[in-house]
């Protein structure tokens, strides 16, 4: 898939100037001027849905606007291939998995089919995630610069799957990871590249107060009383029951409401079970709002985050935690667990508060509800942190920098 008219409606770089200032955008142009006309190929496994496709949808038009010649290719494969890669994905996250030889054969055959189908002649090729990792076979002897962008946590991978993938990874010029925690000891250079949010997307753009009010009314949430919110799927790793228990402790001391809003659980049997467990824990408390939202609820999530007094992310395990990024961008005080990519975002006592238990989470929520001035300051500083590090424009800058660095090394 190449950049087409479907992207024409997207915001141009100038639209980011009011948020970031002209110098930051001018600097992107200065860096890109050194790369004018250079070809870039991004390859991933899905055109729609998922964080990677969401980022590429924004990244590609911006890189093109800056004068590079980007191309985005999506690999194809049968359901059986994606079942294998889904199993690999879970296994790379540390889950148990016993791979069979035919799984590996199918993986290689599908990569080979895509190698023959796609054209690989760009100066910079960025392969996203494990699914297309074997496309490195398409590289002629030291042709172009090949980078593997790994969006998943590789800190504790299933040894069998990692042993299979590792020889392909070693042949890249470098690898990008979302957090130092997610990286492995590799013989190729590894760089840090934080995931990002688009401040102009429906989920993050500034909303009119009337719109926020309307969403609260629709869900029966009282705008006049403090609102504590966690946005996440109903998944045990997000510890929604822990959030309810923390809220119950807070309620012994002060008035507040709890909003637990997550994605649709209709296609996820475990999600339904977890939601039911949370309902039982909530014990018909009218101030606990369990919102099972459909996937097209970006605006509602935006409104709920903006209406919140405190935002919680009490995950037991986390990827990068972009819901935390979204909350910080909206200048909200955040209480979050110190897991995954969260400590990179929540610098304790500077851009939010970290907690390690239900009791600690409850204490930090109470602390923020009792100290609105400090909560405000944390929110402001959290916003600045996101502006400097976790926006789509920073992501563009990082890619330009790695391309420039790669050229200087060749």
């Amino acid at each position: 898939m190449t950049l087409t008219q479907s992207d024409a409606h997207l915001m141009s770089l100038d639209a980011y100037v009011p948020l970031l200032g002209a110098p930051e955008i001018d600097e992107l142009r200065a860096l890109a001027a050194q790369l004018s006309g250079r070809t870039v190929q991004m390859v991933n496994s899905t055109a729609m849905g998922g964080g990677v496709a969401e980022i590429l949808n924004r990244l590609i038009p911006l890189i093109q606007e800056l004068g590079l010649r980007p191309r985005w290719d999506v690999i194809t494969g049968g359901e059986d291939f994606f079942e294998v890669t889904k199993a690999f994905h879970n296994a790379l996250h540390g889950g148990p998995y016993h791979a069979r030889k035919e799984n590996f054969d199918l993986f290689l055959a599908t990569n080979e089919m895509n190698r023959q189908r796609l054209q690989f002649d760009s100066e910079f090729t960025v392969i996203h995630d494990p699914q297309p990792v074997a496309l490195i076979e398409a590289r002629s002897w030291h042709q172009g610069h090949w980078i593997w962008r790994c969006h998943i946590d590789l800190s504790n991978p299933n040894p069998e799957v990692w042993s299979f993938l590792r020889p392909f990874v070693y042949r890249y010029d470098g690898a990008l990871f979302s957090s130092p925690e997610f990286a492995r000891q590799l013989p190729i250079p590894q760089y840090l590249s934080f995931p990002c949010i688009d401040p102009l997307s429906e989920k993050n753009v500034e909303l009119h107060p009337e719109c926020i009010k309307e969403v609260l009314e629709r869900f029966g949430i009282d705008p006049a009383r403090p609102i504590v919110t966690q946005i996440s799927r109903f998944d045990r790793l997000k510890d929604p029951i822990g959030v309810v228990r923390a809220y119950q402790i807070v309620r012994r001391y002060m008035d507040c409401q709890l909003v637990l809003a997550g994605g649709s659980a209709s296609d996820d049997p475990e999600g339904e079970i977890v939601l039911e467990e949370v309902r039982r824990e909530a014990k018909d408390d009218p101030d606990i709002h369990l919102l099972n939202l459909p996937p097209w609820s970006a605006l509602e999530i935006n409104a709920l985050q903006r209406a919140s007094t405190v935002i919680v992310q009490k995950s037991l395990r986390e990827g990068f935690g972009l819901t935390v990024t979204e909350a910080l961008w909206k200048k909200k005080p955040v209480v979050a667990s110190a897991v995954g990519g969260i400590p990179a975002q929540v610098i304790h006592k500077h851009t939010g508060l970290l907690a390690h238990s239900v009791e600690g989470t409850a204490y930090q929520i109470r602390f923020l509800l009792s100290n609105p001035a400090l909560a405000h300051k944390l929110g402001e500083q959290g916003h600045d942190h996101v502006r400097e590090n976790f926006l789509i424009t920073t992501n563009v800058k990082r890619y330009l920098t790695i391309f420039l660095h790669s050229l200087s090394q060749s």
């Binding site: 001018d26 925690e181 400590p343 400097e388 200087s408």
Partner: protein, 218 residues
């Protein structure tokens, strides 16, 4: 104000962060890491962290101090590690020596804390600097002020703070040009005294605008 022989040449800078294979989960491992890590790593966790977190003007100095506080809960050592002012260092090896000395002294006086596990590990990262000369340059103070407004925070940080390591002097690119090319020693001194620990980079830049405007009005 004299006519300059050389213009001020602005640079655009951008950094890549390289993930090293070194991390620490205890104070003793931090100490070893400090001793063995590259200069690029000392730079990343001190000079660059001040730029990365310039919007934090209270209680944040460098990554080592922050981790010792948040990860190890050692406020006393955190304060001590936060104390070295990057403006006082002309080489990264001097900075490393001081950080090591502070850590060693603390480990000696608090042996019970040396092997205590942290809440989260500290990862030693490195900066890779990519610089691009800007197409614009300043021949007068008016031009300088104009182009300064076009400089990103990262590039301002490069000229204002990182320059010390490049120049090997207790000054910065701006002050050197004010003094050597324009003969404006007082402006050079005022600029060099701007406190980056209690100002954001925007705040530091606003102070610089004020000093320049005062000079232009004089």
């Amino acid at each position: 104000m004299k006519n300059p022989e050389h213009p001020f040449r602005f640079v655009t800078v951008s950094y890549l962060t390289r993930i090293g294979n070194q991390s620490a989960t205890t104070l003793s491992e931090l100490r070893d890491g400090l001793e063995k890590c590259s200069d690029a790593s000392v730079f990343y966790h001190t000079f660059q962290s001040l730029g990365r977190y310039h919007f934090l003007t209270e209680g944040f100095s460098n990554d080592f101090a922050q981790w010792v506080l948040a990860g190890l809960n050692c406020p006393m050592l955190a304060e001590q590690l936060a104390a070295p002012d990057i403006r006082g260092y002309l080489t990264l090896s001097d900075m490393r020596t001081d950080l090591l000395r502070i850590t060693d002294e603390y480990c000696r006086s608090h042996p019970e804390e040396v092997d205590r596990l942290a809440f989260e590990p500290f990862h030693f990262l490195e900066s890779i600097e990519v610089t691009i000369p800007q197409t614009w340059e300043a021949w007068t103070l008016e031009e300088f002020r104009h182009w300064l407004e076009h400089l990103s925070n990262e590039s301002f940080h490069y000229h204002f703070l990182v320059s010390r390591l490049r120049l090997g002097l207790r000054t910065n690119d701006f002050s050197v040009w004010f003094e050597n090319e324009l003969g404006l020693q007082p402006l050079a001194q005022l600029t060099n005294r701007i406190d980056v620990y209690t100002n954001t980079l925007e705040g530091a830049r606003a102070k610089l605008y004020t000093f320049i405007d005062r000079e232009l009005a004089a």
